[in-house]
């Protein structure tokens, strides 16, 4: 039995749903597409790389194939000191390029053109890797991305060799940890426009997200907003203690322990004995020990280190 008597209804239905889709998807997309990347957005997109959620370049979400951000004091090609220390975003060979490379309409009018024409980002290729820098805004010209491999001949391997480990920040891998560990179920990355300025800092602007994925705004706060946490608290040591066991620095915290992100060995290559640590910590809680046990320093390539790098980068 066909829908003879329902023909009108079916048409009305299509019309209503279609109109609703136009208003809620098509029209807003015009506005959102016209957003122009701010410098904040360029930085976010370059530190995190292609995607920090599940994707084919990092299927197990271990932080594989992610860029690192380094602070350069010398030109890695010539060895000459730079006029001022410069941040560079190093994509080792195999890391997927950031979204602006190969994705049209990503950076917004002006920035897109400058990055492609002046910054030569179109020449960056996954196979060889690339080094990007942000060309700061000057005069009326907005900030844009420069592919330093093409313009200055900086090679990812050389750049990484030329900087000491403390100037390397594994922010991209750290953002993957942030997504994987569900920090965003308790923390937002979105101070509210109405009342959060004083405590959590300025809310983000329209162009602050171009190319970022996922934005991990979070919806449900059980802890403070973290968008600017690095400017409230820049202590690596505090973060280290707090992630290992939040109750070490904040006895009333309900934040979970993230000690398992330390992996099996610490920075000195010593095996971490979690059972012993927990036993000693229990003694401390029960008042049998005056001080808590020491927290191991995370190894250079541990997930905990990446996470701390990411959190401290949230300025």
């Amino acid at each position: 039995m066909a829908f003879r008597e329902y023909k009108v209804g079916a048409r009305m239905f299509g019309f209503s749903l279609g109109t609703s889709m136009c208003i809620t998807i098509l029209f807003p997309s015009f506005d959102m597409r016209s957003a122009v990347s701010t410098e904040v957005a360029l930085d976010k997109q370059l530190v995190a790389g292609w995607d920090a959620g599940w994707n084919l370049s990092d299927p197990l979400m271990t932080g594989a194939n992610k860029p690192v951000k380094v602070l350069l004091k010398n030109d890695p090609k010539t060895g000459q000191p730079l006029e001022q220390p410069t941040s560079a975003y190093v994509y080792p060979p195999g890391a997927w390029m950031p979204n602006a490379v190969g994705h049209p309409n990503n950076l917004g009018a002006g920035v897109e053109g400058l990055s492609v024409n002046q910054g030569r980002i179109g020449e960056a290729k996954k196979e060889g890797g690339a080094v990007f820098v942000i060309k700061a805004a000057q005069g009326g010209q907005p900030a844009y991305i420069e592919n330093a491999t093409a313009t200055k001949g900086w090679i990812p391997g050389d750049v990484l060799k030329s900087v000491p480990d403390e100037d390397v920040a594994h922010i991209g891998a750290g953002k993957t940890m942030f997504v994987r560990e569900g920090c965003w179920w308790c923390h937002t990355l979105l101070p509210e426009q109405t009342q959060d300025w004083q405590v959590f800092g300025a809310p983000p602007m329209l162009g602050d997200f171009n190319g970022e994925s996922p934005t991990a705004f979070g919806s449900d706060r059980k802890g403070p907003d973290l968008l600017h946490v690095g400017s409230r608290n820049a202590s690596k040591e505090w973060m280290m203690l707090h992630f290992f066991n939040p109750r070490l620095v904040q006895p009333h915290s309900i934040m979970p322990r993230f000690d398992y992100l330390w992996g099996s060995v610490d920075a000195n290559g010593q095996k971490i004995d979690y059972d012993k640590w927990r036993a000693e910590y229990t003694d401390y809680r029960e008042g049998k020990n005056p001080t808590p046990p020491d927290v191991p320093v995370p190894a250079k390539n541990s997930e905990a280190r990446a996470l701390i790098d990411f959190i401290l980068s949230l300025k």
């Binding site: 066909a2 239905f13 809620t24 292609w50 979400m61 997504v179 569900g182 937002t188 059980k222 322990r257």
Partner: protein, 468 residues
């Protein structure tokens, strides 16, 4: 049951798919609420089971949410559709075999998806957390077969018109496919930035508004007239409900992101449309309440009616909250607090769970032709569920108001955490009652299947007396 997967369609007894779906949904309900109660314990006592990522809150939360939405709620919907659609069309389900496969693939896919989420493999987008291959799987092996079965059953019906419930079923099974495919475009096509954030909430809003809410309401349009014997009070009001869902409920997605830098016109539009959601809500609740005229004794005496009417009554505070908390005047106070968590549970654990619970009770008894094993257990299920939910809702609402006050008076965050602690414990206690009630339910239904009194041909289970 598995033998029917490879049987000929004609050889599968009518109702098998629905029974299979019904039991799966109850099992997922037990699992989902068990996980919920575990999460609640973690928030109340953070050192309860630590040192392992598989028991970390951040790994378990999304598993709970997806187990209850895709396991309990949606499978109970599928059960209701496979039972009610043919009953209203005076026909058999178009394909029992497709239904069986649908249920089998649903369980397999959901288990796989939840395992991935548990391991932290997530897209990082709330409510569309599944990585995109799982999203595609859900669209192809869960949503499309279900829609096909419902649509074909309606098309091959042996009645003249289509009853209200079936308008909703056909429309919702269609819309959920659209919502799934369009809502996940950011992952399929790697759209980023604000577009991605907005589409995340477009998906989340519409999966609630165009799938969960209308289907739950459609179920009540069947159960109340069927069990009370009263005809639906007004088909016109049913029309109003249907069309206002399509027009108003599909538009306010942006009200979830009132503090993000979305276009201002979009936020204002969303919050006006959000208030208009009161139109379908009032239409629905009044229609059901008026259908109850003269049969209010059944609210006390009959389990299915009691579940359904409780669900409808809970829709009143739900929609009042929903309509107003998303306006700019109120949203800034409650956004991102426990208030919203309370609201989410009022919608899913209150309103929709009670309506589906009734459908699963009624459907399983009718299809298995067995009277419910024990009324006492049924009553315990109802009261534990209702009291547990109320404790949950009240405690989280209070916690949310404390958080809201903390946020505008700029109280150091840790003081808010301390102030919320008693309510976190209360929530855990309430949630655990819900979990226990579901274990009782599973036992009761299992015993019904095995030992329930046989219902004679031509009689409905609710016409018979309980034996225990």
């Amino acid at each position: 049951m598995l033998k029917y997967l490879f049987a000929k369609n004609e050889d599968i007894p009518a109702g098998s798919a629905a029974i299979f779906f019904g039991f799966s949904s109850i099992v997922w309900f037990v699992i989902g609420t068990g996980l919920g109660s575990f999460n609640a314990a973690k928030l109340a006592f953070p050192d309860f089971v630590t040192g392992n990522e598989f028991f970390a809150f951040g790994h378990m939360r999304q598993v709970h949410v997806h187990a209850v939405i895709f396991g309990w709620i949606s499978m109970a919907f599928a059960m209701a559709m496979m039972y009610i659609t043919p009953a209203l069309g005076n026909t058999r389900l178009w394909s029992e075999k497709l239904g069986m496969w649908n249920c089998f693939l649903w369980n397999v896919g959901l288990s796989l998806g939840l395992t991935l989420l548990w391991a932290g493999i997530t897209s990082g987008r709330e409510y569309s957390d599944f990585p995109w291959p799982i999203d595609l799987y859900i669209a192809c092996f869960i949503a499309i077969p279900l829609a096909t079965n419902v649509w074909m059953t309606v098309l091959t019906r042996r009645t003249q018109g289509i009853y209200t419930t079936n308008w909703f079923f056909t429309a919702a099974t269609f819309m959920v496919i659209i919502v799934f495919v369009v809502g996940n475009t950011p992952e399929f096509f790697h759209l980023t930035g604000l577009t991605e954030a907005y589409m995340t909430w477009w998906f989340a809003h519409n999966v609630l508004g165009l799938w969960i809410t209308p289907v739950a309401a459609a179920i009540a349009y069947y159960t109340i007239p069927k069990v009370t014997g009263n005809p639906l009070y007004s088909h016109r009001i049913g029309h109003l409900h249907f069309w206002s869902v399509v027009v108003f409920y599909s538009t306010p997605a942006a009200h979830h992101l009132m503090s993000a830098p979305l276009p201002e016109w979009l936020k204002s539009f969303a919050s006006v449309e959000g208030v208009l959601i009161l139109v379908p809500a009032i239409a629905f609740v009044s229609n059901i309440m008026l259908t109850m005229q003269g049969k209010w004794n059944m609210f006390v005496e009959n389990l299915e009616v009691r579940f359904t009417v409780t669900g409808c009554l809970l829709a009143i505070p739900l929609n009042m909250q929903g309509g107003f908390q998303q306006t700019r005047a109120i949203n800034w106070y409650v956004h991102g607090t426990g208030w919203i968590v309370a609201h989410a549970h009022l919608a899913l654990l209150g309103f929709s769970t009670f309506l589906e619970g009734a459908a699963v009770y009624l459907g399983l008894q009718t299809l298995m032709k067995r009277k419910l094993y024990s009324l006492t257990l049924g009553n315990m299920h109802f009261w534990l569920l209702l009291i547990g939910f109320s404790i949950y809702w009240i405690s989280m609402t209070i916690a949310g108001l404390i958080q809201g006050a903390g946020k505008i008076y700029e109280v150091p965050y840790i003081d808010v955490v301390i102030a919320e602690h008693p309510y976190m414990i209360a929530r855990w206690i309430g949630g655990t009652m819900v979990f226990i009630s579901n274990v009782l339910w599973l036992y009761n239904m299992w015993m019904t299947a095995r030992e329930g009194t046989v219902v004679p041909v031509g009689r409905m289970p609710h016409e018979m007396a309980y034996e225990r």
